[in-house]
Symmetry: C2
Subunit: 347 residues, 2 copies
């Protein structure tokens, strides 16, 4: 990772609220800095941020390798939850005490306080667990949309996914379980595999297999009890994805939403012609942009997800909470391989 | 090619009509044989075959590498045109003198006469050129469906395709031209390139480029006068396909219908996630199977194509006609690289 972390940067430091900024000067760096909290405008909301996770997309944005980038220097962080402290006179739907999450990427959530336009926030119930709220707006939404928008799945149908231990993967397992859809979950082999299998099964996974298993005749055993998947969710790329695709039903869809292996998706021509598989992509940020004027879709999704949380059917992924001042260790920890625990900054 | 051609095979030869049979005994072989013409059944049609092309799929079926295979030994050939000689008492829509083409793959068209069930035949106007009729049921239908079924294209929109010189490619150029859609046509570099460019432009191609051009900044020039394509048609695979995909509009569709390079389709993960490209496949045989009870779609397509032929907007590809007895030379010629001319057996 080309990411240097430094504690502070020259320039006037205002006696106000700390934030994790980043910029290129002279290398990519992240620093903790006091930022002035601006005056509350007519339609603005003054928010005390409570918790914000460190996601791979945050790191990529800091590295400058993501598809959307902020003008630098910027406050980092795309996800998180805050409590409303005060609202401007034109704010209609939010009141002090409400919990809010970002409506879109790029808000800059790694800070203790901020003033945001009302339109950039979504309300969530304040009785759900803090870590659920802090991690709700990217991964569970991605999982929800991928399960809903590409194939019309009915209870009893199955879904296959790789990177099943990722934040999205865990949300897929839980949302699928709550709706009666079976999941075949592919993970990389690792020293503590049995523990991981147990953890994913506890979340509701029907089958947990390693990438090697995808090539083996034992796969047939799985399809004696459940139908072949009509939907495959791909966050890896490379050989493992090609192997996963072989198990998709004819006319089924594979949705790519990540590329952890940093390798392209490779598909035999025959899969397109003779099995009519359909390959699509998904990016939550684009979905939100495309549905900017369709508040109903957004709020219906958030309502469903919050209800799943309230019923105990959707929990936060395994998290390690870290005080803001320990951000350096958290950033380093978030980029380690086989990290099963998401770093969440407490603000 | 693992294809042996022999002149005849032992066994009883009935004094009837010649056909090109094939089987595995002991190697894959094709032989000319007299076959008895069966008695005309209630719903049968006695057909004098007139002409039948040699398509790559025919060769693959003979080689046993195609997705549908006939029980061996079989009569080869999937496409062609014949004239009705006689009809059974239960035949309603066909009369002697009518021209017919196969409704589906696997009919066995490389023969002089045959008795077919009425349901296995489609009528075409008998005033269209023989070679058009003989080559109508696979390539022009494939081109028509791919232009119609994946993106709703309007006049002024553009399509990019590789293997633009193939039978399908030439039909795409002509059908697109007739409907006001611009085409960007990718061909392999070759000694007689200027002649090929001229020929495709005469068919209506807007741009003809080599595979190398796809990587060059000069591509930008093309997109000053026409919009980026919303549809890409892929018959190649490998690097050239990945390069073609780069020029597709966001949310555009690439349809794979062949794999001439014998290499898979390789797509960067970012194309799925950040450009939302959609990858599909098409196989005319499957479409016909899926629409077996939807005669209206089939006849509406055939009507449109025949009208284009009658108006001079859709011609046969470059063909070399060969008498049936010279089938060996025709089979060999059909598997040569850079063949710009389709071998058609005259029956």
């Amino acid at each position: 990772m080309v990411l240097k972390v430094c504690s502070s940067l020259g320039g006037s430091v205002l006696p106000s609220q700390p934030a994790l900024g980043y910029g290129h000067s002279p290398w990519i760096s992240v620093w903790l800095k006091e930022l002035e909290v601006p005056r509350l405008g007519h339609s603005d909301v003054h928010v005390k941020m409570l918790a914000a996770p460190i996601n791979p997309a945050d790191i990529n944005m800091i590295q400058g390798t993501y598809a959307i980038l902020a003008p630098l220097p910027a406050v980092a962080g795309n996800e998180g939850v805050g409590r409303v402290l005060e609202v401007g006179p034109g704010v209609t739907a939010l009141r002090p005490g409400d919990w809010v999450i970002p409506a879109d990427a790029g808000l800059g959530t790694w800070r203790t306080q901020a003033v945001f336009p009302e339109a950039s926030l979504l309300q969530v119930p304040s009785d759900i667990p803090l870590l659920c709220a802090a991690t709700l707006s990217v991964n569970p939404c991605t999982a929800y949309r991928m399960l809903a928008d590409f194939e019309s799945l009915a209870p009893g149908d199955s879904v296959i996914q790789n990177a099943a231990n990722s934040g999205v993967g865990q949300a897929v397992i839980q949302i699928a379980k709550a709706t009666g859809i079976r999941t075949i979950n592919v993970v990389r082999d690792r020293p503590d595999l049995p523990k991981l299998v147990e953890r994913l099964k506890a979340l509701g996974a029907d089958h947990v297999i390693t990438e090697d298993m995808l090539r083996k005749p034992e796969m047939k055993e799985i399809f004696k009890s459940i139908p072949k998947p009509r939907l495959a969710l791909n966050c890896v790329g490379g050989k493992s994805t090609t192997e996963m695709l072989r198990h998709l039903q004819p006319k089924g869809t594979m949705v790519t939403y990540g590329g952890m292996a940093k390798q392209p998706v490779t598909v035999p021509v025959s899969a397109f012609i003779f099995r009519d598989v359909r390959l699509r992509g998904f990016w939550m940020t684009q979905w939100k942009k495309d549905h900017a004027h369709d508040k109903e879709s957004l709020s219906s999704m958030m309502d469903t997800l919050c209800q799943l949380v309230q019923r105990g059917q959707l929990g936060a992924p395994a998290c390690t909470t870290v005080p803001l001042e320990d951000f350096k260790e958290a950033l380093v920890a978030s980029t380690q391989p086989f990290t099963s625990s998401k770093q969440v900054l407490l603000l």
